[in-house]
């Protein structure tokens, strides 16, 4: 017998009004987490995923930059430092398109609740910080389905940067934004790059209806809040395990 379906906590926190819930051409739903490195988003999405998994819901988890399709090209480009802001952006868009056309869209049409660790807003924030035009980026990703909820995990720059720097022996070249030539010091470059990304995210809170999550709140408290919002905004019973036929 499966574990009992966890109770959906009802949150007392105010939930921002959803910008005119658009009619979707599919029965599934898409929940996305965004935020800079070290904001706690992946931990929170993992816990959300576990909660839904244990409950037997029809879910699928997907993360940014995970397809084997462009792995060799990305590795080649990064190792030899051949990527420009434009090719960096296009390569990630190709990778995302593969995931979108082969996983996300079919699953949404098949009635799954899709959980995405990072989505197109990562490209908007990061590639714009590299100097790509926001308008060009919006067009580039215009084929992507709009999420039902986008959680934006926001931690102060110092908190996030310290979490990353403390846990890693060495920051990678592109990760630290060294291609931008901001600073020769990797930690310094990383910090400035992350700051730009953070500013770009902040600007999207309004325009893209992000649900702002305070990344400094205790993990379990934040997770309770997150589950509450998901329960409120998404008809979870739609994804619940089907009852066995007698």
């Amino acid at each position: 017998m499966a574990t009992a379906i966890p109770e959906i906590p009802t949150s007392s926190e105010p939930v921002p009004e959803k910008t005119a819930a658009a009619k979707r051409p599919y029965p599934g739903a898409l929940v996305v987490v965004e935020g800079i490195d070290g904001s706690g988003k992946s931990t929170q999405l993992y816990l959300l995923k576990r909660w839904l998994e244990i409950g037997g819901y029809r879910i699928h988890f997907t993360e940014w930059n995970s397809s084997p399709l462009v792995k060799s090209a990305t590795r080649r480009g990064k190792q030899r430092r051949l990527l420009t802001p434009v090719t960096f952006s296009l390569l990630h868009a190709a990778d995302f398109a593969d995931r979108c056309e082969r996983q996300i869209l079919p699953l949404l049409h098949g009635g799954y609740l899709v959980l995405a660790d990072r989505y197109i807003y990562t490209a908007f924030a990061r590639d714009a910080a590299r100097g790509c035009s926001p308008r060009w980026l919006r067009n580039l990703y215009s084929f992507a389905p709009t999420p039902d909820i986008t959680f934006y995990f926001r931690a102060p720059l110092d908190v996030a940067v310290n979490r990353i720097v403390a846990g890693r022996p060495k920051l990678k070249y592109y990760e630290a934004g060294m291609d931008l030539g901001i600073s020769l010091d990797r930690a310094e470059s990383f910090r400035i790059f992350q700051e730009r990304i953070l500013n770009n995210y902040d600007q999207m809170v309004e325009t893209d209806g992000f649900v702002l999550m305070d990344g400094t709140v205790r993990v379990n408290k934040l997770q309770k809040l997150m589950r509450g919002i998901v329960g409120e905004r998404i008809k979870l019973e739609q994804f619940a395990p089907k009852k066995k036929k007698e």
């Binding site: 399709l69 462009v70 051949l82």
Partner: protein, 276 residues
């Protein structure tokens, strides 16, 4: 640095002598002709540094593009111009990866379109712009127009595609070697004894008959090119003319653009087999 161009069986050549006179339409002046980019400039490019010329040859497989590029390269070099070439799937970054995707036939249309755009911009930024800064003549064996046409016939919006390529450099001259699909089929079949999966649009389920599929697909591409030709002011050349006739038309236009006085040219022994 190694270029990963495999010998591409799809590239034209051995164009059979056609009967009709090669002809060209005059290039219409275009309102967008003022800027060297279609929209936004590429980040970090100083236009005044680009002293070279970008000349594009477009046309379906079997239209004779690569034959003409080989001849034009020799002619330009004989005139003292250094030449750089570009073409699809020749980028160091993803050229090989696209070859792999095409072999698998498992790639979806949007992914393929974006891989091609990565391939294009890698060549543009790391090969073409440096060449143009050094004053070279760049001969492009296909350009964004083929990429736009192929994606558009697969249902990707033209506005979307033009949006991606707005940072592409506008060519100084774009020639469209126009051949009827039936002629292209004959030429391709003669050369390779088979018709490629992608050039016959078999991913689009147009027909189970390969000939029909090829003709329908190439006709769709041709219609896109007619639209693109109007929009971007192509120099349309009858690609069914003989190699030497087509080459004469191209030389005349290029000579006028580059300020070369004489257009006399006879291919060297090495290339003489192309000249018929």
């Amino acid at each position: 640095m190694k270029r990963n161009r495999k010998s591409a069986p799809s590239d034209g050549g051995n164009g059979k002598a056609g009967r009709r006179e090669a002809e060209h339409a005059t290039q219409a002046p275009h309102p967008e002709a003022l800027s060297r980019f279609y929209g936004l400039p590429l980040p970090g490019v100083k236009l005044e540094e680009l002293s070279g010329s970008l000349i594009v040859l477009e046309g379906s497989d079997g239209s004779g593009r690569s034959t003409q590029i080989a001849l034009l390269t020799e002619w330009l070099e004989s005139q003292g111009f250094a030449v750089q070439t570009m073409g699809l799937r020749r980028s160091f970054l993803v050229g090989q990866d696209i070859d792999g995707l095409l072999e698998e036939n498992a790639v979806t249309r949007m992914t393929l379109a974006l891989m091609y755009s990565t391939d294009f911009f890698d060549q543009l930024e790391r090969r073409i712009l440096p060449a143009l800064r050094s004053g070279l003549v760049v001969l492009a064996d296909r350009y964004i127009f083929t990429l736009i046409a192929r994606a558009a016939v697969r249902g990707i919006s033209r506005d979307y595609l033009h949006g991606i390529y707005e940072m592409a450099l506008r060519p100084d001259l774009t020639f469209w070697l126009n051949v009827r699909p039936e002629i292209a089929f004959d030429r391709e079949f003669k050369k390779a004894h088979s018709i490629s999966y992608w050039e016959s649009g078999r991913d689009m389920s147009l027909s189970n008959d390969l000939f029909q599929s090829f003709i329908r697909y190439q006709s769709m591409i041709k219609r896109e090119f007619e639209y693109l030709s109007n929009r971007h002011g192509f120099v349309e050349v009858d690609g069914e003319g003989s190699v030497s006739e087509v080459n004469r038309v191209l030389r005349k236009q290029i000579a006028a653009h580059l300020g070369i006085r004489g257009t006399q040219y006879h291919p060297s022994h090495a290339l003489s087999q192309l000249w018929r």
